[in-house]
Symmetry: C2
Subunit: 226 residues, 2 copies
């Protein structure tokens, strides 16, 4: 368990993003994927597609989402540079993935559960870590969706994105208000109003081109994060 503690404590940072490029020289036969360049809103895979590949974001952002029959959409996550997506248990993707803006991803041939459990390389470990990270995010996000108010949702979202990007005093939103709304379980109007309220309360600042948010009072944001 000690070993687990050590490697689990700082898992994201211990696995550099460019890691996989180096697998060429690694002993285990990690499949080195091919790079795919994506335009805004370009689809990577759709819900129900065969899970032939999974992906890692090189640059830009990718959203994964599910739809109800009448078109209501839930974006379960935004994937930034270094994040993996499309790892599935079954043989079909359970959500669709599209580029939020121009983006680059690497695709890897799908592993079997056997590969994962028996492969002893860095690659398998990285995939397991990615899966667990997704699970943790999903659990936090359920708390947000089920129990937080609109303003709290937006505050949490901004804080989270600020931590994941490496910019410090501000966040650059790669996604539209509509994407944010569908991620937070709100409407675009409510997202907009929440941002306005946070700005009124001097917690954030929203410069002219509305895709940058300046974090003025992190403590206040953290308080809203409860």
């Amino acid at each position: 368990m000690h070993a687990a503690v050590a490697s689990a404590g700082a898992p994201p940072k211990t696995l550099p993003f460019g890691d996989l490029q180096r697998d060429r020289s690694a002993p285990d036969a990690a499949p080195l994927g091919s790079v795919r360049v994506l335009a805004k809103d370009e689809e990577i895979f759709a819900e129900g597609d065969r899970t032939a590949f999974f992906y890692k974001v090189i640059s830009g952002a990718v959203r994964t989402s599910k739809l109800l029959s009448d078109g209501r959409r839930q974006i379960d996550a935004f994937h930034l540079a270094g994040d993996m997506l499309g790892i599935e248990a079954g043989d079909e993707h359970r959500f669709s993935a599209e580029a939020v803006g121009p983006a680059k991803v690497v695709s890897y041939r799908r592993w079997s559960p056997e590969t994962l459990a028996s492969g002893n390389g860095t690659f398998a470990r990285e995939v397991v870590q990615a899966m667990m990270r997704s699970l943790e995010r999903a659990q936090n996000h359920m708390l947000l969706l089920g129990r937080k108010s609109a303003v709290e949702k937006v505050a949490t979202f901004l804080l989270d994105l600020a931590e994941r990007s490496f910019a410090d005093g501000h966040v650059d939103l790669p996604m539209s208000r509509s994407d944010i709304a569908d991620h937070l379980g709100l409407t675009i109007e409510t997202v907009s109003r929440s941002l306005t309220q946070l700005e009124r309360d001097r917690v954030i600042e929203v410069p002219a081109h509305r895709r940058t948010i300046v974090l003025r009072d992190r403590a206040a944001l953290r308080r809203l994060n409860s």
Copy 2:
């Protein structure tokens, strides 16, 4: 769509629930855990506890939940017989777990990511599968929390529980309305009203002791599931 839900139910079945008991005879040294008998509401672990163990439910039901500082609670999942819980990346549990009613669980000493990635036994495979199943459930649940109406939430919940239990025409709810509410992001009153509405619409029947629900019109429930 439906097929997706159906296939989600299927893969778990390939790993029999009693699996671990048989690890005694398996070649890899899977840690055979000790059984713990739990009373109603008894805590298995708390948010922030060291992740020394993880667990598998033998009988009864277990809830895992997260709290906000002011007491708002989100139950991210109910774990029934055969389900695993408490598998974490870090060295601390990110949610707490309590028995919903009288229950039995087996505890296993925590694996390290290395164990998981390098172990080639059924045990490692089962843990990976359990993790992926959790992730799938979480993703479906985010769609529910973010985008479904109260009645849709309750309908989805009943259908899901009916599939996971093996009873066919009815569901026995091991948990209180309060637990259901905190799982669906609602209040107990709204859960109750939703059940009443479904009963008015002849979709379900709620016998005297209100912990059993008779599913009268599965098609209607599935429609609400979108």
